[in-house]
Chain length 375, copies 2
């Protein structure tokens, strides 16, 4: 591993591929399986850094594409680097921007050299190469940088998926050749859609390059949950067991537990904050929609056992905030949902340690849906 980093697996579940581990970074340890709150533009939407810490989060994600477009990576560097900029003293992972470049539909040209696209802010033409993506993340000073990858939407033709997958491998090689920092880890990203041979080809090629960690990218882009989980299942055996495995952009609590069961160590998703802003709260009994009339006089907190700031209030109060258009509603529900996700992962880690992860997962599914987990 890159200097300043270590990865140690503590427990391997006997009934599933779930494992408990610690990733050591220059800015502290991350207990895994872990969930990263998303701070795309250098801010977790609606939540101050002290409140993000209070949710239990140890590492946050930010986005090199967004910060490079605005305010500019060089400006973040001059303002003290991303940790100081955000006021976050723990580990930070930056996504390269591959997903954003392709998903924001502002792409103008993809060649083997790199991509050209138009800024979502001012329409200016910007080029991004694998080397430039590494350089931007060096300026930002994140603990973990991600390689630039070519992401395609699903479903898509095998030719398109294969072309993007092989380009992503070539770009990964160039990214690694450029990366020179001994304080910034670099993760490769496996592509290949839902195609087993392509995913394995991608995973094996990246494994040979000896990255500090491996992400599974290009999922949660329109495919079914079953297809996603099947893809994880056949991809993971091709990845080195001694490196962290990161499932990008996933997902719902149930997706996370199913992915943990298949050996994933790290997650990020906008769902806790985005759904929180839209008045949706996660609980062990399923989701609550706070605008619903039935919460009007409900004196209960969202979750009896939750100690977050939102759960100091009644559901009736939280509903009132949303009905009155008060910013505090989105703020408090974002805090609750982030706390919920952290508690879910914390409880999952304990269950793995105690050898009862599969049982725990089934209990959670019963609470969420009233039925036992599929597997």
């Amino acid at each position: 591993m890159t200097s300043g980093f270590a990865f140690c697996v503590h427990d391997q579940d006997s009934q599933s591929a779930a494992r408990r581990s610690t990733l050591t970074t220059p800015h502290g340890d991350v207990e895994m399986p872990a969930f990263m709150p998303v701070g795309t533009q250098g801010a977790v939407k609606g939540v101050t850094a002290d409140h993000v810490v209070a949710t239990g989060a140890q590492m946050v994600l930010s986005n090199a594409y967004h910060l490079a477009v605005r305010p500019g990576a060089e400006i973040v560097r001059r303002l003290g680097g991303l940790h100081h900029f955000m006021g976050w003293s723990g580990p930070i992972l930056t996504d390269s921007g591959g997903f954003q470049v392709f998903s924001l539909q502002r792409l103008t040209k993809v060649t083997d050299e790199g991509v050209e696209f138009r800024s979502h802010v001012d329409g200016a033409k910007i080029s991004l190469t694998p080397e430039r993506a590494v350089q931007i993340q060096g300026d930002l000073g994140s603990d973990i940088a991600m390689v630039l990858d070519h992401v395609v939407s699903l479903p898509n033709s095998r030719d398109v998926i294969e072309d993007a997958c092989r380009r992503s491998i070539r770009w990964a090689q160039r990214s690694l050749a450029t990366s020179r920092s001994d304080q910034q880890a670099l993760f490769g990203i496996v592509q290949g859609g839902l195609d087993q041979p392509l995913r394995i080809e991608s995973a094996e090629a990246l494994a040979e390059l000896d990255f500090d960690g491996y992400a599974i990218g290009g999922l949660s882009v329109g495919e079914s949950a079953e297809d996603m989980l099947r893809t994880i299942e056949f991809t993971i055996p091709a990845l080195p067991a001694g490196k962290p495995r990161y499932l990008m952009g996933v997902g719902r609590p149930e997706d996370i537990l199913e992915a943990v069961a298949r050996g994933i160590d790290l997650f990020d998703c906008v769902m806790p904050t985005r759904n929180g802003r839209n008045a949706m709260a996660f609980t062990d009994s399923g989701t609550l929609r706070l605008r619903n009339e039935r919460h009007r006089e409900d004196t209960r907190p969202l979750e009896e056992t939750c100690d977050c700031l939102a759960c100091r209030h009644s559901r009736g109060y939280l509903r009132h905030l949303f009905m009155s258009g008060e910013m505090l509603g989105p703020i408090l529900l974002s805090i609750h949902n982030l706390t919920y996700y952290q508690r879910l992962l914390q409880t999952a880690r304990t269950a793995i340690k105690d050898g009862r992860f599969v049982e725990f997962k089934q209990q959670m599914f019963q609470g969420w849906t009233g039925t036992a987990a599929a597997g």
Copy 2:
């Protein structure tokens, strides 16, 4: 005073009418002169209750009109009362809604009995009487209730001002006759526009009624700062020295210090949060507009000596949040401005105690404007 309340003046400035005092309430003490953050709808806009506490605020203001319209005072009561509802364990003052009924321009009829208006939420016709305003605030369970008053805009004809002023006196008598709680203080509100005889008539009539405190209402509604200060000057001598004096809805930091110099003990204003949401920060060197290009690479905090959450970041970061449309910008600037106001009042109290308030006020004006205070 009402049971559970006490008011004690500790220091009287020798060069001005400024004084330092403590108001004791059932939910704790308020060191005065004091500034109350505004939580109109039961929430200080964009700021969680723990962060409001961290600004140093001891008492917050909420609004009976808004809460009666939505979610309803009875519902707040069933949800545990306003303190539990908001998650605020300190003192709360509720405005009656007089100002809102008249300023939201939804008034349909004013008689001696009361007012009829249309809800700003659903257009429903609502009647409010002095007795009903007291009852609503009883349901809310605030520490300090305000009488319903008839507020008119300025400038206006003497007849209109006189009519509203005398009606406010009659309403104040009825409010007091209705108030039965021994855990809720009731403050009268002096009206009378900028007219000296009317203001004195109003103040003397209310003084005879022996309220727990006295507000000066109907100011900061379009008149000049000079007219406002002159009105305070001739009104205060007609109020009892042994009761707290509250200047409603004021104001800018300079207005507050000038009013303290004239004997005001209590303030509220939406300015710290509203201006914060609009990217304006208060500092000892004047106001900063964070969207300004000049802050782009500025590594300094808003104020070197401020320990608020916003001041853990650079001006460049705060500007980035506003330019990127991140909610965190309004949140952090609201916290900074509320902290600024609390520090201003804290420093004013210390200056009064140390017998150097006028000197302190002049120094502050020099910092804000580059010139000495007018007086």
